[in-house]
């Protein structure tokens, strides 16, 4: 009985509609992937600027990042998410991702 009461209290707080939960989870995962993609991109641009990479390496990094961006676009479309859905508001710290 106590477990029932507990569960009831939980559902009051959490919107447990399976579809919303799935969409929320997907956007959370994609947000983190997008964060990693942006970090990698910035790191790559910095290394290219340093000029220590061969042309071939630069080309390969560029292609990888380009495909990654395409893939992200496809995934977003697939789950019906807009680019601005992939973000987390960190309150006083501002949004996790800079507006793209």
């Amino acid at each position: 009985m106590s477990e029932n009461a507990h569960r009831h209290e939980l559902t009051e707080h959490i919107d447990a509609d399976p579809e919303t939960v799935e969409k929320g989870l997907v956007s959370l995962v994609l947000t983190i992937v997008e964060l990693l993609r942006q970090l990698m991109e910035r790191q790559a641009l910095r290394r290219v600027e340093d000029g220590k990479l061969s042309d071939e390496q630069v080309e390969r990094i560029g292609l990888t990042l380009m495909r990654l961006e395409e893939k992200m676009g496809e995934l977003r479309d697939h789950f019906g998410l807009e680019p601005e859905d992939l973000n987390i508001d960190l309150g006083p710290l501002g949004p996790l991702l800079a507006p793209e």
Binding site: R42, L45, E49, V58, G62, L63
Partner: protein, 271 residues
């Protein structure tokens, strides 16, 4: 009845014309009444603590429909009070005391702060100014015409290299636009604050809530002498035309939520 009944606070004023409150209903449709102590008048209404006590209130505040109805009722009373007194200190949503006596206690304990807040607000009005920057327009304004045309480095690379160079140009144009927009917002705030008795910058608004495109680079509140209200409007007009891609919006008059300055203490005292 008195035991289960709390008091929801709307505003505290001086020289309030209480006739203006006749028939006025507040949160949950309850009629408002006043609690007075030595010239300070608190406008309150009775609320059921089963709905508005600390615990149920916390739950209800997460219910957006409940919140919207409550906020509208609160705001309507605050606005009426503001129009019926030379100055009114608006209280933030959900300031609840346990009965009229506790409201009176609050008036006594916070008297110096309330008096100085009322003195500050008398004859002055709060206005809001928001600036929205359109990132694309800003970036286009000072970016080179063709993206990717950076030096001769890109000529020998393939699609991947071209992509990297394009992204680099985009990112640096964006960073520059952001820097420019934020420097411009600082300047706007300085100019507007010069016209105001007091000025505050609030955190930018979430575009999802405001439904507006673009960066909210300035979300300022300005407490302005009523005699200077026209000057402020003219300044907003003038500054809004200054920079391509930055739009200004003047809102108000507002209840002086940003400058009442007694909220923190009032909430603590209400507990």
């Amino acid at each position: 009845m008195a035991d289960t009944s709390g008091r929801w606070l709307y505003a505290i004023a001086r020289e309030l014309d209480t006739d203006a409150l006749t028939g006025l209903r507040g949160v949950a449709g309850a009629p408002v009444h006043v609690v007075e102590d030595a010239g300070l008048v608190a406008v309150v209404s009775a609320v059921d603590l089963a709905e508005f006590g600390a615990e149920p209130l916390k739950r209800n505040l997460e219910d957006l429909d409940w919140l919207a109805a409550t906020a509208r009722a609160h705001d309507a009373v605050v606005t009426t009070v503001g129009g019926a007194a030379p100055a009114a200190v608006p209280l933030r949503l959900a300031t609840v005391c346990l009965g009229d006596d506790r409201v009176r206690e609050l008036l006594i304990r916070r008297r110096p702060d309330l008096e100085s807040a009322l003195a500050l607000l008398t004859g002055r009005t709060e206005w809001g100014v928001k600036a929205y920057a359109d990132p694309d327009a800003l970036a286009a304004a000072d970016a080179p015409a063709e993206p990717g045309g950076q030096g001769g480095q890109g000529s020998k690379g393939g699609a991947g290299t071209a992509y990297l160079l394009r992204r680099k140009a985009q990112l640096s144009a964006r960073e520059k636009a952001e820097r420019n927009a934020s420097a411009h917002a600082d300047r706007l705030h300085r100019e507007l604050a010069a016209l105001a008795t007091a000025a505050r910058r609030h955190p930018p608004q979430d575009p999802k809530l405001s439904g507006r495109k673009g960066w909210n680079v300035l979300n300022g509140a300005y407490l302005v002498d009523d005699a200077k209200a026209d000057e402020l409007a003219a300044a907003v007009e003038r500054l809004g035309g200054e920079v391509e891609g930055v739009r200004l919006e003047l809102t108000g008059p507002w209840p002086a939520y940003s400058f009442a300055g007694v909220e923190q203490g009032a909430e603590e005292a209400a507990r």
